[in-house]
Symmetry: C2
Subunit: 226 residues, 2 copies
DNA sequence: TCACCATGGAGAGCAGTGCTCTCGGAATGT
DNA sequence: ACATTCCGAGAGCACTGCTCTCCATGGTGA
């Protein structure tokens, strides 16, 4: 339900003002440079008043992390056309993730870079964090159900949890632990390439980042059988 | 040449004391929690005296980063047996990198996590950072020269720089841009899986991290033709 | 040998941080 | 109209990186 009383309205408005300013500050100073006092200053209020809205700096970061995961997940979902071929879908979703990351490098770093020290992601972040994985898992499952995947070897290595197996296509003869391991590998490889590009580990090695990314992602699609 | 005068000896000793304490602090508080004052306190000296040895906190971090790259590179080099088969070599080097990372998660995060904000890695870090890549590139090149690689398609996509091509096996008929792209992909995927494991993105999905890593790395080796 | 000077410590201080506490006014529910 | 809850302000604590000044010491050229 939306806020009803004037107080709740004001509180909600100020809360989004804070997170917006925090995001803006994130874009310039990074996560470590995020300063509650600076936000309060820009808002024209005492720093102590901010603690009525976020009990601590880490809680603000948690909010930003959840919003970030959700925003990225929405971008991935929007990029997925369930009617297209698996290879096309995979490429489109991966491209969307990279585009999202390139537009907000600091926010991406907050999600997939070093964890903030002394801060362990609360349970709240899990569902939001899973959204991109769910989209990629659906692509895999749809491909299997459409008979577009090579037959699986039927190996059960026991390394992929049942919960993850459910997300990664569910039960299907064309899907076994070996396939799912490759899916998890492709998933982490996607973030590996994006992180390397964003964090500067490719500088001097990759000249055309756009086509390199497409080539690499296509290789990964081949690994998955698309 | 080693330090000669007593002063130089004392300076070198104190410098290593500082970096050792910094590394210890890194292991507990992470990069953001690294405090020059705390180091000075543990050393029983004034915080201002530390600036005689490191002009700023970022310079200390740079030192730690270079040392970290070097240590990891040495571990990778030690794990590589040039006489073994390419697949074995690839697996051994990747395992060594992961083992190194698992033993020093915070140090790994410093190297491959989010870049420290407002801090751009100086040129000094480049050669040290390249060491692991050089080892992996040598494995690829040796495999090509031994005729253990499938024939290349001969594609020149122009995405891999000449410098990187030199590291990634050098010139050989079995090596083209398509192969080198896969090599860079495998390289970043290696760090993607390690980062995901270390940063907690696999929690709940991967049950047996050790065998998952081996499986994933073997898949990557297959992608490279090993 | 002695004077000179670079070296490296100590301390005070500045500007900034997250966070806590108390106080007082204002909106809300009864 | 009253009681309660909410929310902003201000002062203050402990901490940070960093600078500046001052001073003792160690190595060195005359």
């Amino acid at each position: 339900m939306p806020p009803t009383t004037a107080r709740e309205r004001a509180r909600a408005a100020l809360t989004t003002d804070i997170t917006d300013l925090a995001r803006a500050q994130l874009a310039t100073a990074g996560a470590a440079g995020l300063s509650l006092r600076a936000i309060a200053r820009e808002l024209g209020m005492a720093s102590s008043a901010l603690y009525r809205y976020f009990p601590s700096r880490d809680d603000l970061l948690t909010r930003l992390i959840i919003d970030g995961y959700d925003d990225m997940g929405a971008a991935a979902e929007a990029a997925d056309d369930p009617g297209a071929a698996p290879g096309e879908r995979w490429l489109a979703v991966c491209r969307a993730v990279r585009t999202w990351a390139l537009a907000r490098p600091h926010e991406y770093a907050l999600l997939y870079g070093s964890p903030v020290p002394g801060y362990s992601a609360p349970e709240d972040t899990v569902p939001a964090a899973a959204r991109v994985g769910v989209v990629l898992g659906r692509v895999l499952g749809d491909a299997a159900r459409a008979g577009l995947l090579p037959p699986a070897a039927g190996r059960a290595t026991g390394t992929v949890s049942a919960a993850a197996a459910g997300v990664l296509g569910g039960a299907h003869p064309a899907l076994d632990d070996a396939v799912r391991t490759r899916a998890l590998l492709a998933w982490s490889a996607l973030y590996g390439t994006i992180s390397f590009e964003l964090f500067g580990h490719f500088t001097g090695s990759v000249t055309d980042a756009d086509t390199f990314f497409d080539d690499a992602i296509t290789d990964l699609a081949g690994l998955l059988g698309f």
